[in-house]
């Protein structure tokens, strides 16, 4: 076969060349074979790389390698968690366990703070305001309490490089009139770091523990820590717990965004100018109570003033009408108790007071019983007349009757005479007995009456004579009555001057009336 023949020829031709090659490259060839074997054998190659890997990674400790490794590491971690979550959990527990404990403690602290504050303010006037606000706005009461009770203001925020204490960025709230000027923030930043170191060295040795807050009077410092930076805020007033979280969140954001710059920081702070908005977001505060109040003064006036006025008016009206009512009922009571008045009906009809009943004409005038403050125009009386049997009224009526009877009687005299005529003698007993009855009735009422005995004369004769005659006539009748038994002190003899024309015009037979002694009762109640 030609092919075989050619091959044999070729190999026999190559023989010397091969031998020459073996002579020239003998020792190197072994090394080449070894190298080839190393390159071609994957397991050998892996061994080689393993030998230098650590050194190579150390040499390439720059961003590129980190970026290249990042997805691998992430995937590896993911795989690890999927296959055996316990391993990673165990590894991370020392860090997380502590952090979680701390978070829970801080949360509990916050709750306690809120609770104690709420309890403190539950029964105050402010709490009533808050409850009303909560009712008005529909917000939960607790939210209103937190919103209104914590007054604070973050005045300055410092972003500090943790290692060197150098100030990376600083923002300050617009100064208020009272607040002192800001001291050099660079030095404050340095001293804060130094004090943090000092406290750390003095109090505890644990690396993970940090100074969390500094407080002096009204001003405090809130501190948040990251691996490479510290965020510190100067707070005036009572900072709520959540403020630390605001700071921590802001710092976490900065650390994440500026991780490279923070790690490689060598004094150039221009890099951190872009953090300003994040720091400014930390300049939070709860406005002053006074300001809030002045803003809603009108609303407060409407809210509390108007109902208060209404309430006041209502109370005033109630007191007034109660007083009026009491006066009316007093009046009705007095009417009912008044002798000679029987109250059958009394009611208020609008502003009028309507009274119905029976009334003895001798009874007191109901209008005179009205108390002060009630006008007669406000009362409407409807009386039926009747005769009361009340002792006082009965006595009064008797006196009235006797008086009328008495005053109708008269002693007649003959012309020029003052002697009681024998046919008129019976009148002494008739008049005298009535006078005694009258006197008794008046005494029963506690009154004293007087009875005038009036002597009269006709127009005939001189005036002087007639005057003496009239007096004598009165005196004679008086003496006759005293003799009958009428007490002398109630009888008064007087001369009555009848009109001359009256007597002068009458006929002779009627002049008897003029020549008389008549009676007038005085002092009748």
């Amino acid at each position: 076969m030609p092919t075989d023949g050619a091959g044999k020829r070729a190999s026999s031709d190559d023989q010397p060349l091969t031998e020459l090659r073996a002579i020239l490259l003998g020792p190197d060839r072994v090394a080449w074979d070894a190298l080839r074997q190393r390159l071609e054998n994957p397991s050998r190659r892996a061994e080689d790389v393993a030998g230098v890997l650590a050194e190579a990674v150390r040499l390439r400790s720059d961003v590129k390698l980190r970026r290249a490794l990042q997805p691998l590491l992430e995937e590896a971690l993911q795989l690890s968690v999927q296959s055996n979550p316990r391993m990673l959990a165990d590894a991370l527990f020392p860090i997380f366990g502590k952090a979680i404990r701390k978070a829970i403690t801080s949360e509990l602290d916050g709750m306690l703070q809120a609770l104690s504050q709420t309890l403190e303010q539950s029964f105050s006037w402010r709490s009533i305001e808050w409850r009303w606000e909560s009712f008005r706005t529909g917000k939960p009461y607790a939210e209103i309490v937190v919103l209104r009770s914590l007054l604070y203001r973050v005045e300055q925020v410092f972003l500090i490089h943790r290692n060197s204490g150098l100030l990376l960025e600083h923002v300050a709230a617009p100064p208020e009139e009272a607040s002192p000027e800001t001291k050099d923030p660079e030095m404050i930043s340095g001293m804060l770091t130094a004090i943090q170191d000092f406290v750390h060295d003095s109090v505890s040795g644990a690396e993970s523990e940090n100074l969390e807050a500094i407080r002096m009077g009204d001003v405090g410092v809130v501190l948040a820590y990251g691996p490479d930076a510290i965020l510190a805020g100067f707070v005036r007033g009572v900072a709520p717990r959540k403020l630390s979280r605001v700071f921590q969140d802001a710092l976490d954001g900065i650390e994440q965004k500026k991780a490279e710059a923070l790690r490689a920081f060598s004094g150039d702070t221009a890099e951190f100018d872009s953090c300003r908005p994040r720091l400014e977001a930390c300049l939070v505060g709860q406005g002053k109570a006074e300001k809030r109040r002045s803003g809603s003064w009108t609303a407060r006036l409407l809210l509390f003033g108007v109902p208060a006025l209404l309430l006041l008016a209502l109370v005033g009206w109630w007191i007034y009408s109660a007083a009026i009512e009491r006066r009316w009922s007093d009046f009705a009571h007095r009417l009912a108790n008044e002798p000679g008045i029987v109250l059958t009906h009394a009611e208020r009809r609008g502003s009028k007071f309507v009274v119905r009943g029976l009334r003895d004409p001798l009874a007191a005038d109901p209008a005179s019983l009205l108390p002060a403050g009630l006008g007669l125009s406000n009362v409407e009386f409807h009386w039926e007349e009747y005769h009361s049997l009340a002792p006082r009224l009965a006595a009064q009526r008797r006196i009235s009757e006797l008086k009328d009877e008495l005053e109708k009687r008269a002693f007649g005299f003959t012309t020029g005479s003052a002697q009681i005529l024998p046919e008129e003698r019976f009148l002494v007993e008739d008049v005298g007995s009535r006078m005694l009855a009258l006197s008794q009735a008046a005494t029963a009422l506690g009154k004293t009456i007087r009875i005038q005995v009036r002597g009269n004369h006709d127009p005939v004769g001189s005036e002087k004579f007639n005057s003496a005659l009239a007096r004598t006539r009165a005196e004679n009748v008086r003496l006759a009555l005293i003799a009958f038994g009428v007490p002398s002190d109630i009888l008064i003899a007087v001369r009555e001057d009848l009109e001359k024309e009256t007597c002068g015009a009458v006929a002779e037979e009627e002049r008897m009336v003029c020549r008389s002694a008549s009676f007038r009762v005085v002092g009748v109640p």
Binding site: G165, L166, D184, A194, D197, D268
Partner: protein, 171 residues
């Protein structure tokens, strides 16, 4: 704005605080030195065309009873070893401190300062001994004010050159 942290270290009573006081306007009282162990001052300097803010950490002087708190040196860009020319022991202390700092923080730019130049006649520290170390050395007098500014400026300049080297592209 470039900022650098510089620490003043040295034996007790060598004049660190006086040097700083010569150089800056301070807002904090010197009581901090004895209470917190450090006092911080600020000085803005201009080196060439660059302006640098130096934050000077004046650390309480070391003696037998109170060792220097090296944690205050964390993050420092450089430091100043202060020696009292009248006390040979203070140079020994400075050398020892330099070693400790280099161990803890690695190589950092620093200058050696021989203070109290106004009392040069009474000096125990010999120039020949100092020059053996080969460190950048300055003679200052906090009392008279001589050499202070130059020393701080020189350190600032060396910090800036380190900065410039660091910012060179590594790739």
């Amino acid at each position: 704005m470039l900022k650098k942290k510089i620490c003043m270290v040295g034996e007790f009573g060598v004049g660190k605080t006086s040097l700083v006081r010569r150089f800056v306007d301070s807002i904090f009282s010197e009581r901090y030195l004895t209470t917190v162990g450090v006092k911080i001052d600020r000085k803005d300097v201009t080196v060439g065309s660059a302006s640098v803010t130096l934050m000077l950490w004046d650390l309480a002087g070391e003696d037998e009873l109170t060792p220097l708190n090296l944690s205050h040196l964390r993050g420092a860009s450089g430091y100043i070893l202060v020696v009292d020319g009248c006390r040979a022991s203070s140079l020994k202390k400075a050398v020892e401190l330099q070693q400790r700092i280099a161990e803890r923080l690695g190589p950092l730019p620093f200058v050696l300062v021989l203070n109290k130049a106004d009392l040069r006649d009474l000096w125990e520290v010999k120039d020949t001994v100092v020059s053996e170390y080969g460190w950048p050395t300055f003679e200052t007098s906090a009392k008279a004010g001589s050499g202070v500014e130059e020393m701080f400026l020189a350190l600032a300049a060396s910090l800036l050159s380190v900065n410039a080297a660091a910012e060179d592209p590594i790739e």
